[in-house]
Structure formats: structure tokens, C-alpha cells
């Protein structure tokens, strides 16, 4: 898809690289060297067969193999996404659960309304506000996510806290809302009534009977956010000067650097598919009603 999209876009690769004043002959020669003057299907075939062998081609702009660039960026993205997830999953679920347990009381309203308003605020707004507060004013956290080359794990983590905050704020609304509605449904269910009427202590009812059933839908939502967290963070990555997949693809798209654009997008797609698959596995493990194909 992306491959086709890149082809129909106006613009000439050779012209883009060599600039408007280059000789037409030089442009044609370059195009021929890059192979972009070949028929579409041939190009696609050579690209996809190289891709599955790990060769993603050569970047037009950086003049270096694409694979290391994409892999580095992906590694960075995964780190950022990981930190955001570590923050949002427990806090989001906790927030949703607390809201559900205090349904329609002030605490519920604060969590629901707060989460919702954070979700609708674009991350560049919250990002800038957070930079101003923690980076400029309080000077607690570094405003750039790019850490020194020799940075260890904790140093990297320290740099990632601020960039992951806006992500946390955006996702908290989603995760919290799903957790809340899952909890409400589970709390109203007949099996919860059964558990309460058995005379089980409230704590046991919640931990053993409610939570597990309540959180099943939330898992799916979290998985669908993985794609966004890995590949959709252009704004955040630009804002915090962070080399993730999002900004890599964005730069490539601006410079018509097809090898990076296509490979980067495909990698994000693969990550997304893997995350969804993992969520499905987790879901079926937690939900005994889904057995994987074979009858018991």
C-alpha cells in the first residue's frame, strides 16, 4: 500500500536529490542507478524480496543502508513506548477501577473528567506545558530526550520521563475509561452478586471475581495503542528531539526517501500486528471461553 502510495506521489526522486539546477541527463542517470525507472512490479518484487532477507535498501538522503537506521529508530521508539506503558497501564487501570468503585461520586467525576480532558488535549500542548514546568521552570528533568552516547539504563530512563508524560496523559483517558466501564459491567454482573451473597469479603470479591473479568476488554485497547506509540509520535519526537521511527518516517516522507519511508512503515505495521497478536493470546489465556481452535 505504502509502496504504491509513494509511487503515485508527484515528484522525481533524482530531481529531489540533485536539486533543481542539475542537468536532466544526470537526473536520469541517477534514477537509473537507483532503479526507480524500472516497471512498478519489478521494483516491488526486488524490494520485497530484499526486505524479507533483511536488506531494506539504501537511503536516498543519508546514502547509507536503511536497515540500521530503522532498527536504531525502532529501538528508541520501543524504549519510549515501554516507559509510557509502564506508567499508563497500572495507573490507568487503577484510576478506572477506583472510579468504578466510586461510581457517580466526586472521585469518579474527577478521574473521568480529568482523563477525558487530557485525552482531548493534543500532545504538543501538554508536551510544551510539561517542558515549561519541569524542564524550564523547575529544572527537574532534561527537556531533550536525546541522551549522551554513554548513558546507562537509568540515565536513559531519566531522559525518557518527560517525553513519556504527554503520552501517558493521552492514553490515561482511554485506558482508564475502558477499565472503568469494564469494572462497572463486572460489578453489576450476576456472578459478582453470587460472590457477594456467598459472604466473601469485599476485597476477595474484587480481586478474585471482578478484576479479571473487568480487565479483559482493556487489554485489547492497550494493544491497539501500541501502533500509535511506536510509529505515531512525530510531534513528541520532534518536540523532544528524539530519534524514533515516527520522526524517521516523517523526515523520509518529506525528502521522498522511499526506502526508509516504505521500510519504516512496514516495520511499524509488523510491530502493530505482533502487538495485536500478543494481545489476542493474552486475552485467550485469561478468558477460558476462548480455546485456541481445539476442543477440550
Amino acid at each position: 500500500m505504502v509502496f504504491l502510495g509513494g509511487q503515485v506521489l508527484p515528484g522525481n526522486v533524482g530531481r529531489a536529490i540533485l536539486g533543481p539546477f542539475a542537468d536532466q541527463g544526470a537526473v536520469d542517470t541517477l534514477n537509473h542507478t537507483l532503479g526507480v525507472d524500472r516497471p512498478l512490479l519489478t521494483q516491488y518484487w526486488s524490494w520485497i524480496s530484499n526486505f524479507v532477507q533483511g536488506d531494506m535498501g539504501t537511503s536516498y538522503i543519508y546514502r547509507s543502508p536503511v536497515a540500521p537506521l530503522v532498527v536504531d529508530a525502532l529501538g528508541n521508539s520501543v524504549k519510549l513506548a515501554f516507559v509510557a506503558f509502564v506508567l499508563v497501564i497500572p495507573i490507568g487501570i487503577l484510576g478506572g477501577a477506583v472510579a468504578a468503585l466510586n461510581l457517580n461520586r466526586p472521585l469518579d467525576r474527577i478521574i473521568t473528567l480529568g482523563g477525558l480532558s487530557m485525552t482531548v488535549l493534543p500532545e504538543f500542548v501538554t508536551g510544551i506545558i510539561l517542558i515549561l514546568i519541569f524542564g524550564v521552570w523547575l529544572r527537574w528533568l532534561p527537556i531533550s530526550a536525546a541522551w549522551p552516547h554513554d548513558a546507562g539504563f537509568f540515565r536513559q530512563l531519566y531522559h525518557l520521563i518527560l517525553p513519556s508524560m504527554p503520552l501517558f496523559l493521552v492514553l490515561f483517558g482511554y485506558v482508564g475509561r475502558m477499565a472503568r466501564s469494564g469494572m462497572i459491567e463486572a460489578l453489576d454482573s450476576d456472578y459478582t452478586r453470587t460472590a457477594v451473597l456467598k459472604g466473601l469479603p469485599w476485597r476477595t470479591v474484587i480481586w478474585r471475581h471482578v478484576l479479571r473479568n473487568a480487565l479483559l476488554p482493556t487489554i485489547t485497547v492497550i494493544a491497539t495503542q501500541t501502533g500509535y506509540l511506536i510509529g505515531g509520535l512525530v510531534v513528541i519526537e520532534t518536540l523532544f528531539r528524539y530519534q524514533g521511527v515516527g520522526s524517521l518516517i516523517f523526515t523520509a516522507a518529506r525528502g521522498k526517501d522511499f526506502p526508509i519511508l516504505v521500510s519504516g512503515t512496514l516495520v511499524v505495521g509488523i510491530v502493530y500486528a505482533v502487538a495485536t497478536l500478543a494481545a489476542d493470546f493474552l486475552y485467550s489465556m485469561l478468558n477460558p471461553r476462548i480455546s485456541l481452535g481445539n476442543e477440550q
Binding site: 450476576d190 456472578y191 453470587t194 456467598k198 459472604g199 466473601l200 471461553r289 476442543e295
Partner: protein, 678 residues
Amino acid sequence: MTNSAKAENALELTDLSVAYRVAGRNRAVLRNLSLTIGQGEAYGLVGESGCGKSTVALTVVRYLPRNGSITGGAISLDGQNVMKLDAEALRRARAESVSMVYQDPGKALNPSIRVGRQLTEIFELGGVSGRAATDRAIAMLNRVRISDPVSVMQRYPHQLSGGMQQRVAIAMALANDPSMLILDEPTTGLDATVEAEVLDLIAQLRQELSASILFISHNLAVVSNMCDRVGVLYAGMLVEEGPTEVVFNDPRHPYTVALLRCLPRGGQRKDQGRLDTIPGFLPGIGADIKGCAFADRCALADDRCRSELPPLYDLGGRLSRCFHHDKAQALPRATPSDVAPVPKPAAAPVLRVARLNKTYASHGHALRAVKDVSLDLLPGETLGLVGESGSGKTTFARLLLGLVPPDDGGTIELEGKALAPRLENRSDDQIKAMQIVFQNPDSALNRSHSIRHLIGRALKRLAGLSGKALESRLNDLVRSVRLTDRHLAVKPRQLSGGLKQRVAIARAFAGDPRIVVCDEPTSALDVSVQAAILNLLADLQSKEDVSYIFISHDLAVVRYLSDKIAVLYLGRIMELGPSEDVFSGPHHPYTEALLSAVPKLDQTETARIRLDGEIPSATNPPSGCVFHTRCPRKIGAICEQQEPLLAEARPGHAIRCHIPYAQLAKLQSSTPPLEAMG
């Protein structure tokens, strides 16, 4: 009833009032309800939905919905004032002395926890854990007659059948040896044979355990078989109470009288007269009731009834809240019983089905959902389809409607013309000639359209009408299903279940159908509404000469409406014949068992034929006669080896059984088979 005089009652409700807060106002649901249940007594609470039955149960265990509150009165459980208990004491009361079983066991059990764990946690509350708790759980499952408790313990609820799930739920309720057991519609929604099993189980357990029982049900027959005393609830008030037999045989409140008249009883049939109905509706919750709550719907009501609340008259061991309790049974009928039976001219069959088969592929096995079904249906005739869940009733209906294609070879003929197997290959005329009414009108009606739009669209699509013609046909149709103009503007959710079902019926009749498939059309409705719908179907039939294929698990209802019955088991017709012949017998042993499983209002004998186990899997049906594994009248090896033919025993009445007809007649005129006498 004899225990009610004892000093200590298992449950005492005194002037109990409960309200639900809706739109900022407290609306009364229970109004000064007083009742007592003696130690070891079984007390039945009956009434239509919305009269507050379940609220009573939830109030006793203090599990009202968030917006519910007790606004007055007292609840005493085993001498303990439930309303004064703090959270911990309440938890202990629930753990130790009161248990509850309710409708829909599939939802009552936690879907993601194994059955065993759900049981052992109860014993852990009592300080028994580990191996000992497992042993106790196994013993408990044995007690509810689960034959393989060790393997059931390892399973998840969804891996059990509905009947098994309800047994597990009962085992859980009895695990703490409660003094009070509340059963809220415990068999509603289960198959008739499963219902019979569960009721038998409860009856047996009653003799083994000391628990008192509060049995809540809309099914009067079930209550009459299970309970010593019964209370009739109307608009949150007790209107009649007394020993079960006395109340049901000699009711003293017009509401009880009317409820009993709504039921098709004693083999009543549509050509013997309409069912009586109860006009009007139950007062909504929180309604301001001045006089007798039933006055608006009661033909005996006078000015006094409308202005003054009748007291509960003590009529010697029984109570009635009616000024006219002495003449309650003289209540005039709300619906005239007259029907003009139209003698049916012998006509060509409107539907002819021959050798219809449907095989599904299920994990590499062939699942024969419908096997070799052949039958005819005359115009204006009703065919009742009877059988347990999984017997192929619904699949058969879907084949007729073209929703799923049958296997090659079978034929369906409508008015002499062969029907294409798939709906999309049928002509418009053929499609509109065959319509369906579902069990649940809620999901069948688009909630975002008005009733006028819903019926109008059906007229446009099915009858091809528009403009003036559509208007006038719409008005006719609406009147013929007894809706009024007032109903046309509203959306489905603003209508009651009965009214919604009328809309669904109107829609099905929009294209002048020849055949209407009714799939459990009254199962979700109260008896008074059910009676009105059955009357409506019968009236429409005699007027329009339409044929019905009527599916219901309620055999009395099937019998009332059907001219012909097909009894299905594992996709095969086991018996096919005129309704009266099939019901009065001699009949197939399976039919015999089905009929015997039905709780009856006017019978006290309890020797039923019990069908052991579950309906076998259709992927691996038993050899020979498919019913032999559960047949109480099995005669020997021939049943296991050779499948009997569906042979005509008498003209028009065919039975698939190795036992000769005369022999069946002899067997069934005497006692039930030995196995069932236990």
C-alpha cells in the same frame, strides 16, 4: 403452613416498603409487605413481572440496586434484624444463614474461574481449606446429583449445560447449609425436561435439608408443585395468600382468578374458545394508588374499590385483599370466549417438505442438525414443533425460511412450487409468503425508528404499497393486532414486551403471508400478555387463513394453538400427528417423557418420567434408535442396533419406535415405567 404459628420463623417481613429512586424521586416498589415463612416451609411468591417479586428477594439479602432503598418496615431472618446488621455482620449472615439461586445460571457463575474453585472458596470462608475443602466440594456436587464431580470441578462454567450450571449454582447455595434458601425463577429459561430435573432435585433436597425456601416464580404450575403456601404479589402488595392447593383451586382475589384463567389448561385448544386476558397494565412503579391496586383492571371493581384500600381479610388460614373476596370467582371474562370455528375445506397443502436434511461440519465431524424430515402443512393449519434445545427445531425453521441452505436432495414446496434453497434465489412473492416472529421483539425491532416507520417499511417492502393505499393498509393492520394510533408515533423501547410483540406480528403480516414461523413468540411474556398474543394469533389465523409453524417449549401453549405436532429429537421426527392424538397418546416414549416433565397446576402426583443425562451430541448420535440411551421404555438390543422407521400407526399419526402401537397404548395406560418410580 403448620409451622407458621411457631415462635421463631425463618423469615419475617413486617410492613416492608422498598423504593427505587428514579429521576430524583423515590418510587414505591414494595408497599407495606408482610409475610412470614416458617422453619422448613416452602413459600411461593407469584405475580407478573414488575410486581416486585425479585425485589423481595434482593431486599432480604440486602442486595438492592444502587438506587433502591428500604423505606420502612423490618426484615427478620432467623430472628435477626437484617436491617440493623453492619457490613461485617451482614457478610456473615450471607455466609452462614441465607443463600440465593436465580435465573440464568450461565451468568450467575463466574466465567473465568473453574467450578471447583468457586465451590471451595465457600468452604474456605468456614475455615476449611485445601484437600478438605475439595472433598467437601465433591460431596456437594454429588449431593446435587452430578455424576462425575471430579471432572466437573476442573471445568469452566461455559463447558457445562444449563441444567448442570444450575445444579452447580444450587450446590454453591447449599454449601453453607443455609437456614433460608431463596430461589428466584430458578428454572426459567431451562428446557422443560431440564426444568423437571432441577425441580425434582430441589424437592429431594428439601427432604434432606432443613432449609426454608422462598420460591419466586411467574410460573404458577411450578409453584403449585413445589410450595406449601403461596402469596400472590400485585404492585408490591400481597393480594392473596394461603395454602397452595387452596389458593389455586379456589382463588379469592380477582387477580389470582384472572391469572389462572390466562393459562391454557387441561388440553384447551384454540377452537374451544379464546383464553381470558387481563385488560390494562400493571401500575408502574411508584404509581399513586388510592384504592385497590387491581381496581383499574378488575370487572368487579366499584367506587369503594377505587377509593379505599381493601384490608387483608382473614378467611380462616388464608388472606385476600379484596372487598368482594366472596364473589371473586364470578369475575366476568375480559375477553369473550366465543370463536366461530371455521370448518376447513380440504385444500392442497400450502407447504410440502420432503426428505429435508441439514448437515453442518463441526471440527471435522458431520453434525446432522436435521435428518430426513418430511411433512405437509395445510392452509390455516398450525404445526407445533416440540423438542428439547438442540433437537433441530430452530434449524428446521431456518431451512424453511431459506436462511441456511439444506443439503442437496431435499425439497421444499410452497403452494406447489419448489422453493430455492437460498433466500436470495427466491422470488419476492415467495419471500413475503413466509415470515417469522421471534422470541425477543426487542432485538428484532430497530430501536431508532418509530412504530409507524417499522410497519410502514414492511408494507412498502413486502406489499409494495405506497401513499394512500399504504396508509389505509397500515391502519387496518394496526387495528388487527389491536394497537392504537397512540402507539404509532413512539419508538419500540417505549412499549411493553407484549405491545412490541404485536408490532413484530403486524410486520410479519404486512405482506399477507401464507406461513408465519413463530419461534417462541410468547416465552418472554407474562401469562396475561401471552394469552392476549395467543388469542391474536388464533384470530388472525381464522381471518387470514394463514398457516403457522409454532415453536415453543411450553407444551400447553403449543397444544392450544396447534393442529398438528412434530416431535423432534436430534434432528429427527420421532412423532408426527394431529395435535390431539399426539398429546393424549399413545405416543412415542420421548413425547411421553416430555409431557410428563411439564409441571401441571391441577395434578399433585409426582411420579414423573425422568430423562437421565443430556441430549446426546448430534455429531455422534447413538446407534440404532437415537433415543435409546435415555429411553425409559427401551425393549432390548433391537433399539441399539436398528433405527426404527417413522411408521404410520394410525392414519396421519406416525411414530418412530420399535414398540408396536397397541403395545404402547397398553404400556402408557397403566403406570409410568419402573425406572421413574424411585
